[in-house]
């Protein structure tokens, strides 16, 4: 039972991160019908931006001889998180504006190939030797970095399950962000416009919706969520390197497909279901197959219910 609960906690902790990243895939797919291959790398850039910002604002180790006060820690942690979200939002804007927008009228395959290109540019560009040395090292190079502890880690034990305040904070922040997004998508004028563009971009344009601006903001929003996910993940699993976005990105994509790509609640449910599935399967069987689990789930979903849990079936018209 304890083992079961432990897997539940771990699964939820990973699952909420998949869910946050999956939201970016699903929103972009909704408005552009494009799998933004580079989204996993935006998530990676989010973690690195957090790392640099932590260096800039001078996050001191909370374990040091002179531990910073709670207020100071809180302010710095939020600065780092919000800053990383802004940086990734900008990155999302740049990617959309210069790589995808010129190709919007072209065949979808063209955009897909460009997306793969952008993804590899970020991954391998970040692996180059640093060109700028101070105040931050950019690009960071191939060796893994250790993400600083933004807040002090306090191990907890509930019903024999070991977890930490990181898991709890991460989960709460992720849920808050998702509720916020839910509000934006379903309760604001921007959200209404976004859903209209997703429904039919041409008609939405005719109704006076600024389609380009909506698409740009969708990218910005998705990328900011990915940055938050990157930081939540990096705080509890502090090893970051330029390639870690690739596999996490693909898994988050699987989560989006599982939930029904294009559906916002679907991405949240899909992410959590995938996180739990991975944790339970790897936990009770052979953990060396962990990375293959997500792909197996993807293939099963596409074969059995291609529209996903929340998706609607569409009939192709000619």
């Amino acid at each position: 039972m304890t083992e079961f609960l432990q897997h539940l906690v771990n699964g939820l902790s990973v699952g909420t991160i998949y869910a946050l990243v999956a939201l970016g895939y699903t929103m972009v797919y909704g408005v552009l019908k494009l799998i933004n291959f580079a989204h996993g790398d935006v998530y990676m850039v989010g973690a690195f931006s957090g790392y640099w910002l932590a260096e800039l604002v001078g996050v001191r180790s909370p374990y040091g001889a002179d531990p910073p006060g709670a207020g100071e820690t809180f302010i710095k942690a939020s600065l780092v998180t919000l800053g990383a979200m802004v940086i990734c939002g900008l990155l999302g804007f740049v990617i959309e504006r210069f790589a995808y927008r010129p190709l919007r009228q072209r065949p979808r395959l063209t955009s897909l190939i460009t997306a793969i290109g952008v993804s590899f540019l970020l991954e391998y560009g970040f692996q180059l030797r640093p060109i700028i040395r101070s105040p931050i090292e950019f690009p960071p190079g191939p060796s893994p970095r250790v993400f600083p502890a933004l807040i002090a880690r306090e191990p907890l034990e509930v019903l024999g399950v070991s977890l930490s305040n990181y898991d709890i904070y991460g989960f709460l922040i992720a849920i808050l962000l998702m509720l916020g997004l839910q509000y934006i998508v379903y309760r604001t004028r921007f959200g209404t416009a976004m859903r209209a563009v997703s429904f039919d971009p041409q008609v939405a344009g005719l109704m006076g919706i600024p389609v380009n601006r909506i698409i740009t903001w969708t990218f910005v929003l998705g990328s900011a969520l990915a940055a938050a996910a990157g930081i939540i993940n990096a705080v509890s699993r502090p090893k970051i390197e330029p390639l870690f976005g690739l596999i996490s990105g693909i898994k988050a994509f699987v989560a989006a497909v599982l939930g029904g790509i294009g559906s916002v609640p679907g991405a949240m449910v899909g992410g959590i279901v995938l996180g739990l599935a991975e944790e339970y399967v790897a936990g009770y069987t052979d953990s060396s197959y962990r990375d293959a689990i997500a792909f197996t789930v993807l293939i099963l979903v596409l074969l059995v219910r291609p529209a996903g849990i929340f998706g609607r079936f569409t009939v192709e018209k000619v």
């Binding site: 190709l103 072209r106 979808r108 590899f120 540019l121 971009p201 690739l246 197959y289 293939i299």
Partner: protein
């Protein structure tokens, strides 16, 4: 074109190529030879991937997985039979015969893997197919990494050095001839029809899934061949040789040359391999260059360098061959652009 002539024209490249390569083999310095081997292997890979991505218009990202299947099959056979000498044959001939069997087995197992992957996934379209093939490629790799029999993550080492210029050259020629013959056959027409408009092709009675699976299997078999060749050139087969990145490299070659152009695939495989070899000291920039190349190409010339045109569509070649079939070839008749398979809204639906 009579069938005897067709056979002759298919066999001719082998007859010309084999003696030249056999003469070249002993005089070629080892470090140039290995570059030529990787050029040849990349020609096989790019041309075979072009059958799926170019001819059929499906987007596969799992080529490296099939390479792995071929490489491990061949390695198991050559290592297992390394002490065996066939009766009545000198050792060299016996070794080459064993390698030939290994190559054939590599193609067959890779083709079987192609059927297993293709049957379920080819019902999907466009970007979904791309992700699923990527997933299958990673699953193949993950399975290999977990099998004791295949040496897990360290892979198989101590493979006999069997790959030489003749094998590689013959394989490259075989792949190009196969692709060329396929393109002018009724089978090839069906593939082009699927690329141009899948729904229309289906309405015209083309068994779209069946043809897609066939194209996929052919492509997988040649990828297996390439995997077997490269592993017996560097005497090693490890899972790290067959990652997703390897698949992307091949995709870049095909896209750069032009989806659907055999000439394009061959030329871009040669040019990219040699130029990256020449820039070996900038190894770190290799993938950055690939990525930038992909983006720039999509923005500036999405149809690739050759589009869907071929060398033999040039007026000069047509006059030389006076081959009407080739002149009206399918590649020349199709629009030089990547087709949209969008399922999104198209104005009035």
């Amino acid at each position: 074109m009579s069938s005897a002539r067709a056979v002759f024209r298919s066999v001719l490249p082998f007859l010309v190529g084999a003696p030249i390569l056999a003469l070249l083999q002993p005089v070629m310095p080892a470090d140039y030879a290995i570059i030529l081997v990787s050029v040849g292997v990349n020609v096989v890979l790019a041309t075979s991937l072009n059958v799926v991505n170019g001819f059929t218009g499906q987007f596969s990202l799992g080529h490296a997985g099939f390479m792995a299947v071929g490489a491990y099959t061949a390695a198991k056979i050559t290592v297992g039979l390394s002490g065996v000498q066939l009766i009545l044959l000198p050792e060299a001939v016996s070794n080459q015969l064993v390698f030939a069997i290994a190559l054939l087995a590599a193609m067959i197992t890779a083709a079987i893997a192609g059927v297993l992957v293709g049957m379920p996934s080819l019902r999907l379209r466009g970007d979904y197919l791309a992700i699923v093939t990527l997933g299958f490629g990673e699953i193949i790799r993950s399975v290999i990494e977990n099998m004791k029999f295949l040496g897990q993550a360290t892979g198989l080492s101590g493979l006999p050095a069997r790959t030489n210029l003749v094998w590689v050259g013959m394989s490259a020629i075989a792949t190009v001839v196969m692709a060329r013959r396929l393109a002018v056959s009724t089978q090839g027409r069906a593939l082009f029809a699927i690329r141009e408009d899948e729904v229309a092709a289906e309405a015209m009675g083309v068994d779209t899934t069946g043809f897609k699976v066939r194209a996929f299997v052919i492509s997988a078999a040649y990828a297996g061949l390439a995997g077997a060749l490269i592993s017996h050139a560097i005497l090693l087969a490890t899972p790290r040789m067959f990652t997703f990145i390897r698949s992307i490299e091949v995709v870049v070659m095909v896209v750069l040359g032009g989806l659907g152009s055999i000439t394009g695939s061959v030329i871009s495989a040669i040019v990219l391999t040699i130029s990256l070899e020449a820039l070996r000291e900038f190894q770190a920039y290799r993938m950055v260059v690939y990525a930038a190349l992909l983006i720039a190409l999509m923005l500036l010339r999405p149809q690739g360098l050759f589009g869907t045109r071929e060398l033999w569509d040039l007026p000069l070649f047509r006059r030389l061959t006076r081959n009407r079939l080739a002149a009206a070839g399918p590649a020349g008749a199709s629009p030089a652009e990547v087709r949209d398979d969008s399922t999104g809204p198209k104005g009035v639906a």
